[in-house]
């Protein structure tokens, strides 16, 4: 029997009472799974907390589900819409494009463009052979003829490449020229490389066109007995302005195309203008054909656009300034943003199912480890009814989705100060890599991952999961500690997600008196940020429960909210750095990177922003003088002594992991009070890079007072207010000691005050507080 394992995803991450949600499941070693709708109560088995807890929910669809093996198409490529088979050329033709290959010597064939069937050896294509040489080939189903360049391609250099073929004479001509300028490529002109190669050969065989074979860019048709047709021989690197002409272009004509000139219109069969379609709001997944037949191409698995092209001059650093220099589309054979699996089941969310965090639990065989799957989703109320709203940071879940830092990141052990603690699930996911990567990972060619989607299994967005590199819960399972506490307290609470906030803006949270965040809401779109700022300015109360929040500028494509984009750049604690000229989001047209670098440091909304991180110990908070201030003393009412949060599920205390600091120079509201602050952190805690102008020895926990988490409070117009914990670990401290601890007590004081209508406690003093301090 095959190894048993089960993985799945849902078509939505947020669903309202009464709405439908579909599940897509891949299973090995079983044809039936036991499905059970569950409400997730607590996600961490840590002995200091309540342990893992779920509640089974009755639903007609609970029970046996038929499941099967499903296959995932990995790799990004372009699929050309050519239903009339206009590109099944029988006569002479020429293919060309500009390329910037990243792993030319991959040891496997890579297809640039063509109409090629790798299984049956029919058709024609231009590509790169396993040894890294440009190659053009044709096949008739039995025999294949190749013409190969004399020089291997050099990685990360721009080339203009092409091939023409005349079936009448059998003549095949290969064209390869380097087009590097001072900016666009890895190497400059001081390197004595020869990039050009021109080869002509007479083929014995002719290409055979088969109607069902598609014209693809960056991949070729393949077939597998169980799986059926799929795309293989995927290309890693950029392609700019690919084209096909219906005659042989001579050397002079191709020399002109090398500079970016279009061939004569009469010769063009298709010319995919990769620079078309840009606006100041970005660009979509359709690549427009400027040729006579409008054979547009559609991106699969998000080929990356808004990337520099062969003619990038190094001066215009955004497609909004010079779209004609942004024809580069980057392809990755290991990208996946939608598994496109068959639907396994669909359920309707009962209209009386309480808003909250749910999962469809699926079990096969022993029903543990990889034979158990939780497909998580958030149930929103059909109509808001509570005063408290838990904003689930799904954008940040996506960012971390399936991260494999423990296995791949050399930086992770010095960062966490401990060896990773991995499980069978981590190893299984890492070994197979069929469910895509996180924005903390790199593609096999070294490029950072900028898209992440939930239309694939996300193995770390489930209960019981601990982030292996840190051996604590992180993101989704950590946020269950907050919802467990809300439930323990008996607070009425509605749940919504980042996706809802991005789509609906302020309307999504306007009905609530108080919005409480997750432990690490790091990834934020402009609409999400605007909505929260307007909410607070309009009298809403915000509780920011984490650290390193409101940090990265992200975008969601309007037509596909399941997929988030981020580009990491300039400064900030970052897993990778976008290349020069590639700092703008293709989904929105905005500059990505840190909100701080766009004039919206997190301090402006919350009072605090990222200052340091460490991963092996945590510390409690100590009250600061403002804790006793008559406008704020209600926050720590009932706390004996000066210490807050000396227990917790994340390294034993509430103050730790990622820490945020009050900083007037970054826009902390001037009347903000520091209620308490952590301190005495170990030297595993380091200062964040965006604080660094000059680096010097001693930017660590025991030597730099700035490295601490600040618990802050300020009032906003119209009875609004913001309270921050300034630490990721705070949420995981709430369940300690049966929810009876000082961190939980402080938060209860705040939540209970924040959900009440009317003025906040302490505000009767504010008339005397015109001076603000």
């Amino acid at each position: 029997m095959a190894q048993q394992k089960i993985f799945g995803y849902a078509n939505r991450i947020s669903v309202k009472q009464g709405e439908e949600i579909t599940f897509h499941v891949n299973c090995d070693g079983a044809s039936e799974a036991q499905a059970q709708l569950v409400r997730l109560i607590h996600g961490d088995a840590h002995e200091a907390g309540p342990g893992f807890q779920e509640e089974e929910v009755a639903h007609p669809l609970n029970g046996a589900w038929q499941v099967k093996k499903q296959f995932t198409q990995l790799g990004s490529f372009l699929q050309v819409e050519d239903s009339d088979n206009r590109l099944a050329v029988e006569g002479p033709f020429t293919l060309f494009c500009h390329i910037w290959p990243t792993i030319p010597k991959k040891g496997a064939r890579q297809t640039l463009l063509g109409r090629w069937d790798t299984r049956n050896n029919t058709g024609f294509a231009l590509g790169i052979n396993p040894e890294g040489y440009l190659e053009f080939w044709v096949g008739d189903g039995k025999e294949v003829d190749y013409v190969t360049a004399e020089l291997p391609l050099v990685a990360r250099m721009w080339y203009f490449v092409g091939a023409s073929f005349d079936p009448a004479t059998g003549k095949a001509t290969l064209y390869q020229e380097g087009v590097a300028n001072r900016y666009n490529s890895l190497l400059g002109k001081v390197v004595p490389h020869d990039y050009a190669s021109h080869v002509r050969q007479t083929f014995r065989f002719r290409h055979k066109n088969v109607a069902s074979v598609p014209f693809l860019i960056a991949g070729a048709r393949d077939h597998h007995l169980l799986r059926g047709d799929f795309v293989n021989d995927l290309y890693a690197g950029k392609i700019d302005r690919p084209a096909i002409c219906d005659r042989v272009l001579d050397r002079t004509e191709l020399d002109a195309c090398k500079t970016g000139a279009k061939p004569k219109a009469a010769a063009i069969l298709a010319y995919w203008d990769t620079t078309a379609g840009y606006s100041d709001r970005g660009v979509g997944q359709t690549v427009f054909d400027a040729g006579p037949h409008g054979l547009h191409a559609e991106g699969v698995n998000h080929p990356v656009r808004a990337m520099t092209g062969f003619n990038w001059n190094g001066r215009d650093d955004c497609f909004r300034l010079a779209p004609d220099q942004y024809g580069g589309i980057e392809f990755h054979p290991d990208a996946v943003t939608d598994c496109r699996w068959d639907e396994t089941a669909r359920i309707t969310i009962p209209s009386d199912l309480q808003s909250g965090i749910y999962a469809m639990r699926l079990r096969i065989g022993p029903g543990t480890g990889i034979t158990e799957e939780y497909i998580v989703f958030i149930v929103r109320p059909a109509k808001p009814s509570a005063k408290l709203c838990y904003l689930i940071p799904t954008a940040s879940y996506l960012a971390y989705g399936n991260e494999s830092l423990s296995f791949d990141a050399h930086i992770i052990q010095p960062m966490t100060g401990q060896p990773p603690v991995v499980t069978e699930l981590d190893i299984e996911t890492y070994e197979h890599r069929e469910y895509g990567l996180s924005t903390y990972d790199h593609f096999e060619d070294g490029a950072g991952v900028c898209f992440s989607s939930y239309l694939r299994p996300v193995i770390n967005m489930r209960p019981k999961y601990r982030m292996s590199s840190m051996n604590i819960t992180w993101q989704f399972p950590a946020d269950l500690s907050i919802s467990a506490w809300i439930r323990h307290q008996g607070y009425d609470c509605d749940f919504i997600t980042d996706e809802d906030l991005d789509r609906e803006g302020l309307d999504a949270i306007r009905p609530y008196n108080c919005v409480i965040t997750g432990t690490h809401p790091e990834y934020v779109s402009e609409r999400m940020l605007d909505a929260q700022e307007d909410f607070v300015a309009g009298g809403g109360r915000l509780i920011y429960m984490g650290g390193n929040g409101y940090y990265w500028v992200v975008g969601f494509a309007r037509d596909n909210p399941a997929c988030m984009e981020v580009r990491k750049l300039d400064s900030g604690m970052r897993a990778w750095a976008a290349k020069p000229g590639e700092h703008y989001l293709q989904t929105t047209g905005e500059k990505s990177g840190l909100w701080r670098n766009r004039g919206r440091a997190p301090q402006k909304l919350t009072g605090v922003g990222f200052i340091g991180e460490g991963f092996e110990t945590a510390s409690p908070y100590r009250k600061m003088p403002d804790a006793w201030h008559r406008t704020a003393s209600w926050i720590t009412e009932g706390i004996e002594g000066e210490i807050i949060g000396d227990q917790g599920l994340a390294y034993g205390a509430a103050g730790g992991i990622e820490l945020d600091r009050y900083d007037l120079s970054l826009g902390t509201p001037p009347h903000t009070k520091i209620i308490a602050a952590t301190g005495g952190h170990s030297d595993n805690y380091v200062l964040v890079t965006e604080e660094l102008l000059y680096a010097y020895a001693g930017l660590v926990g025991s030597l730099d007072y700035r490295i601490r988490g600040d618990m802050t409070y300020f009032t906003a117009p119209n009875d609004g207010a913001v309270f921050c914990t300034g630490s990721i670990g705070y949420g995981q401290a709430l369940p300690a000691n049966g929810f009876d601890n000082s961190a939980a007590k402080v938060l209860a004081n705040v939540v209970e005050a924040f959900v009440k209508d009317g003025p906040l406690p302490g505000t009767r003093w504010t008339l005397e507080e015109k001076q603000w301090r």
């Binding site: 423990s406 050399h410 060896p419 603690v421 991995v422 051996n471 595993n684």
Partner: protein, 120 residues
């Protein structure tokens, strides 16, 4: 380093790294003691003496294929594994011991680094 050490590598930076590592190892061997190992056993996290801090820094910054991790098995016990350093290649088991607590397993990882350092 001498001419005898010359090998052809694609990245000459490796030569400099190897030299730095040689110097670091010889310092670490000069301070390595039972007391240092005991210091780690008692408290693997937080502040340490300077020699232990430097030793841990060396352990944690070794190339990926020389790094270890702890494998938590379904039954709850722990084993030491070594990372492959190669994409998609899972870690391999080191030794046959299993440990009842994470703390013991973490110390076992440390002892494996020491073994690599001393060659014993």
């Amino acid at each position: 380093m001498s001419e005898a050490d010359t090998t052809s590598v694609a990245d000459a930076d490796l030569h400099v790294r190897a030299n730095f590592d040689k110097i670091t190892r010889s310092y670490l061997l000069s301070v390595l003691s039972d007391a240092l190992i005991e210091e780690h056993r008692r408290k693997p996290e937080g502040h340490h003496s300077e020699p232990l801090t430097r030793l841990l820094n060396w352990c944690q910054t070794r190339p990926l294929h020389e790094q270890y991790a702890v494998l938590q098995e379904a039954g709850g016990c722990y084993r030491v594994v070594r990372l492959s350093g190669k994409p998609r290649v899972p870690p391999a088991r080191v030794g046959s011991e299993s440990y009842a607590s994470l703390r013991e397993a973490r110390h076992a990882v440390f002892l494996n680094h020491i073994k690599d350092l001393t060659g014993k």
